[in-house]
Structure formats: C-alpha cells, structure tokens
C-alpha cells in the first residue's frame, strides 16, 4: 500500500490540523535535541524546518497544503513582534544612557553587513544580482524583500538569505561572542537583532530581559537604517 496517499484520502479539514501538529511536534523535538546535546548547533528552528520539509516530500504534500494550517502559527509572528515593546519599556533608562553607542553600533553593523556581503560574493566570482541580494540579508523578511526590489537584487533569493542568515546567528552567536569575551546582555541582544533579526533574536531572548529589549530595538532600527542606506550604498558598490 502506498502510504503517501493517506493524507489525501482524509477529509480536507484534516490537513491544516495535521500541519499544526507537525509544526509543534517538530519544534518540540528540536528543543529536546538541543537540550540533550547542549549545543547551539542543534537549533530547534533548523531541525523543525528539515523535519517538516522531508515529511512534506514523503507525503507528497505541497507547501500550500502545509501553509493552510501553518498560517495560524505564522500569524502569531505579528503580535509577537509587537510584544518586543514590553521588555523594551523596562530597558528604556539603560537605552537612554547608551543612546549614542547604540546608534553607532547599529549604523556600523548595517554598513559592515552590506559592504562585506556584497564584496565577498564579488571577490569569489558571484554575479552582481547575487551580490546585491546579500545587502538586506540581516533584515526582517518583509523589509528585506522591499529593499532587494529597490536595489536590483533577486527577491526570492533574498528571502532565503534572510532566513538562513537568522539561523546562522542563532547557531553561532554564543560561540562567537564568548570567543571575544563579550558577555554584556545588551551588546549580545543588539548584535543578534542587527545581524539576524527575528530568528537571531529568538536565541538570545530567553537568556536575559536586556537582550530581548535590545534585540527588539535592533530588529526595528536596522530594518529602517538599512532600508534607507541600501539604495545609497548599492550604486557605490556597483562602481567599485
């Protein structure tokens, strides 16, 4: 018997329910694996994406079938982003006192990310549209897509890079910043949000309220800073 046909014989209302159960199950499994291995390399978001992707392929379900249910989880991304304001309010005093260093760090992060992303691709022989798609890779996906359209990148490639960049931050931030001895929760939060937006932030948020607050600010601020700077920086890079 071909068991890949099972989901298609069930009533259509079951597929969204199946998608939600699969998403929650895969993520919880990812958390368990991370706890057991005690390694940030075993990132629950990455594990869940791989499990769900292979399950869909095995069962011949399309991404549209999956999203019919997963959209209910996806929808919560909006209110959760708004919720970042709550840890931020507690950290306002801290932010006011480090306002200039914070702005300097945000601008430097944005510019270094754009210039290095573009240059590395060009140095290794990548095409210009691919290199331009690198510019908004640290941004939250909707802003990244808008920026890439503005500057002549490939939007679908940009969306992939924005998610992979976030996963990379979630996986690498602890080891990288421990290595240079930066344990300040504000600096870690700001860096996670600047380099990896939401997915990067999801790694540091449970570690400290200050990290959550600064990550929230960084997601919003870097989105705005890079959206404004990218159309100015892109023409300069192209002539380089």
């Amino acid at each position: 018997m071909n068991w890949s046909t099972i989901p298609h014989t069930l009533s259509p209302g079951v597929i969204p329910l199946f998608a939600i159960v699969l998403t929650l199950g895969a993520y919880l499994f990812g958390i368990d694996v991370q706890r057991r291995l005690r390694s940030p390399l075993a990132n629950p978001v990455l594990i869940a994406i791989v499990i769900i992707g292979s399950t869909l392929r095995l069962l011949h379900l399309s991404y549209q079938d999956y999203f019919s249910g997963a959209q209910f989880i996806h929808f919560l991304l909006g209110p959760a982003t708004v919720a970042l304001a709550i840890p931020m309010v507690r950290a306002l005093e801290h932010m006011r006192r480090s306002l200039w260093p914070m702005l300097a760090a945000l601008f430097a992060g944005s510019i270094v990310g754009m210039v290095s992303g573009y240059s590395f691709v060009r140095m290794l022989g990548g095409s210009q549209p691919v290199a331009l798609s690198m510019l908004p890779k640290s941004l939250t996906t909707p802003i990244a897509l808008a920026v890439s359209q503005n500057i002549g990148g490939v939007p679908s490639l940009c969306a992939v890079l924005a998610i992979l960049g976030g996963v990379l931050v979630a996986v690498g931030i602890d080891r990288t910043l421990d290595w240079v001895n930066i344990h300040d929760p504000a600096a870690r939060g700001l860096a996670a949000g600047t380099a990896g937006s939401g997915i990067g932030a999801s790694r540091v948020i449970p570690q400290h309220t200050l990290s959550a607050a600064f990550a929230g600010v960084a997601i919003g601020a870097n989105g705005i800073i890079t959206a404004v700077l990218a159309p100015l920086v892109a023409p300069l890079l192209k002539h380089w």
Partner: protein, 122 residues
Amino acid sequence: MAMLRLIFILLLFQLAGEALRAATHTPVPAPVFGMVLLAAWYMLRRREPEPALEQAANGLLNWLGLLFVPAGVGIIANIALLRSAWLPISVSLIGSTLLTLLVTAWIMHRFGRRATITKEGR
C-alpha cells in the same frame, strides 16, 4: 486574564501599526510600527507594564523561534536558487554575518553602559 489582555493589546497595536504603515507608504512591516507605538504608549504614560502582562509577554517571546518555522519551510522550495553560486553565497553569508555580529557587539560593549545586574536570567 493576563494572556487575554495581552493578546488584545498586541493585536490592537498591530492594527494601529497597519494604519500607520498605510499612511506613511514605507516598507516597514506593520508589527514593527506596532512595537514602536506600544513602547511609545508606555513611555508617554510613564508606566511600566504590569508584572502579569510582562510574564505573559515573556512566555510568548520565549517561543519566537517556533513562529518562524512556517516561513522557514517555504525556503526549502527555493533552496535550488543557492545552487547556482553556492560557494560565493555561503562564504559571504557566513563571513558577513559573523563580521556584523562582532562589529555591532564590540561597539556596544566597548562604549555602551554595562548592565549592572549581570545574572538576571529568566
């Protein structure tokens, strides 16, 4: 009740963010506007969120990662885009992301005010 109130407040401010985005015609997503508006709201009233509400918000934020999974599965369909230039893309993605992390964290760590409470985990 705190959870219900939280969901109401968050959706209300997301809706306000949606209105602001429509009015300003920017690519900034409505939830980012909503986040700024909610923080501004607390600042103007000179009040901190009540503890029960804060706890509920932290509960939601602790599984922020889960909420990215549905969009993340979508990239699997587009992963072939990487195949055309996988070497420049992967070197640049890793190198540039690490540089951004280090530069941002270093400037903030070097010049920002240090946290007074170092071990205030959740």
